[in-house]
């Protein structure tokens, strides 16, 4: 089964990329592949991942351990799943700094205090002796943020980081991440199905469908002129505040990736599909504004232009 099939994207320092798509489209598998953490049985079948100038697909797990937590870090959806209830906040936030930066005793303590201060935990020197269950949901997620920063990473991958948070806490958290990014120049990858988060946070978007990137471009271009019918449908299916017009409903369901349909993977649900879409997989078409779309419609328009 091809969970993720032939995807290409790149990200510069200080940039934010949003990977958008429905569950099962391969977003999380993509992230795990970046970290060389595919589940047992999963395999990279080809392709390359260049991180900070070096190829990392060929590295052994031991070499990867030196990169994970130091150069690249991850923030997961459920903070309680990334925090160990048996260890204090100090132990957990300090761990990457202890292993990767060899900080000890007082310098480790000051470092942890500083990190907790950065994510706005009040009175860090006291709170760091406490345990995860003593924190509220928003604070736990901020602590996970501090853990991600502790190694001094160049890339943070955030996989649905605010799904469990309230709207007000979500906004605080997103603002905080933006601020930390301005301070440290870290690159961010946001994996989400919430288009609002993407609209707020990201410069670049990659829309995934059934294991492939179907459209890529700057956030503004994609929201203003979506090229791929799937992106268009996705944008029309979200409710907008103060607008009660009926929502667009994408018919059908995502394909079973063990038996993908012929031609374009989206054709069974696409309102614009024609004969060609049913048999032949469309090529990637790159427009002038560097927006790219994998669709026969875009292909046709480009040829007429």
């Amino acid at each position: 089964m091809k969970a993720v099939d032939d995807i290409t994207f790149s990200l510069k320092e200080g940039e934010t990329l949003g990977i958008v798509g429905e569950s099962g489209c391969g977003k999380t598998t993509t992230c795990h592949a970046l970290f060389n953490l595919l589940p047992p049985g999963g395999q990279l079948m080809g392709g390359s991942i260049h991180f900070d100038g070096t190829e990392i697909t060929a590295k052994s797990q031991k070499e990867m351990q030196k990169i994970r937590g130091k150069e690249m870090a991850m923030i997961l959806q459920d903070p309680m799943a990334s925090l160990d209830p048996l260890f204090s906040i100090f132990d957990q936030v300090g761990e990457p700094a202890y292993h990767h930066r060899k900080l000890r005793r007082n310098s480790l303590k000051t470092q942890v205090e500083e990190l907790l201060g950065m994510v706005r935990i009040p009175s860090p020197s006291i709170r760091m002796k406490e345990f995860p269950h003593q924190m509220s949901g928003g604070m736990r997620q901020r602590i996970v943020g501090a853990m991600a920063l502790a190694g001094g990473p160049k890339l943070i991958v955030a996989d649905e980081p605010t799904t469990n948070l309230d709207v007000t806490i979500q906004l605080q958290y997103l603002e905080l991440l933006k601020e930390l990014q301005d301070q440290t120049g870290v690159a961010l990858i946001f994996v989400t199905h919430n288009l609002g988060i993407v609209a707020k946070m990201c410069n670049q978007i990659a829309v995934m469908y059934a294991g492939k990137i179907v459209e890529q471009g700057t956030t503004r271009d994609i929201f203003n002129q979506p090229q791929h019918p799937y992106t268009d449908a996705l944008l029309k299916s979200i409710p907008v505040l103060g607008n009660k017009d009926p929502l667009y409903v994408i018919p059908g369901q995502p394909p079973n990736l063990a038996e993908p349909p012929d031609g374009c993977l989206f054709h069974p649900r696409c309102p614009k599909a024609d004969q060609r879409c049913r048999v032949e997989h469309p090529p990637e078409v790159v427009l002038q504004n560097a927006q790219s779309s994998v669709c026969w419609m875009t292909h046709k328009e480009e040829q007429h232009a």
């Binding site: 709207v167 007000t168 609002g196 609209a199 929201f223 979200i238 505040l241 009660k244 994408i250």
Partner: protein
Amino acid sequence: MPEPVLEVIDLKKHFPVRSSFLGMGSVSQWVRAVDGISFSVGAGETLGVVGESGCGKTTTAKLILAQESATSGEIRFQGQDVTRLKGRDLMEYRRSVQAVFQDPFSSLSPRMRVGDIISEPLEIHTDLSRYNIRTRVGEVLELVGLQPEQASLFPHEFSGGQRQRIAIARALATEAKLIILDEPVSALDVSIRAHILTLLEDLQKQLGVSYVFIGHDLAAVAHISHRIAVMYLGEIVETAESLDLCNDPQHPYTQVLFAASLPSHPDEDKTVLNLSGEVPSAINPPTGCSFHPRCESAMPQCSTFEPTQKTLSVGHMAACHLHEER
């Protein structure tokens, strides 16, 4: 306004906090989970309830479902006071008020076939024959867009969106008049959300059922609701028509809540109103207006006097001292 199906009058629910070991000690404090709320839901109407976690949304839902008994206040369903119902009348009430929960993975028993899940309320509440029950199960499955033959499958054979359809079918089976929807789309993907919201709207038009829609995704709540009640620390701070509330929120908390919702477009201009801090504890709520410690327009009287509900325009009520001078 249509004849109310459900009317809630000054409803309160306080939970005791016991001091000593294993909760055996004397009551030292009370959590005021719901503290004097009033609202009504008309026939075929949807009331949206929004607020942060811990504001009492779910306790309100439980009170309406008669899963918790109220500390004081009244819940009137079609003119009858629910808080005093017992025995047969209570059963009849539970038949007409059903619920759909957030997580369709835990609200459907994995050991039961879909047909059995949907027929359970029918077996309890009606004396239909087996044949008629089976027909009814087929009917409601078709109503929610599934096939009657799928009744013999187990929940794990369905996707998240389909499971939520099954939960809705179960709620509809006994011809409920009112359905409490507690975050029914929060666990679902965007495109599936659109499916379920549209389905709920269609079912309401067809069957005239009323909804209480609890959620924290403001855009989704505003889309489906006719009216919205905004809750903060066990109290309703503002009630208004859905569009009225979106375009012209009056209470500072509502304004902050709407400002905190995510943009629908990268160019959207959002006034940044920052809400500092988190929701205070409901054990010792602040004196006066419970929102005053976080409120940007707090005045001296806000910390001493509790504001009362004032009608600002037709159907638009808010509880804030700012509107007093008018």
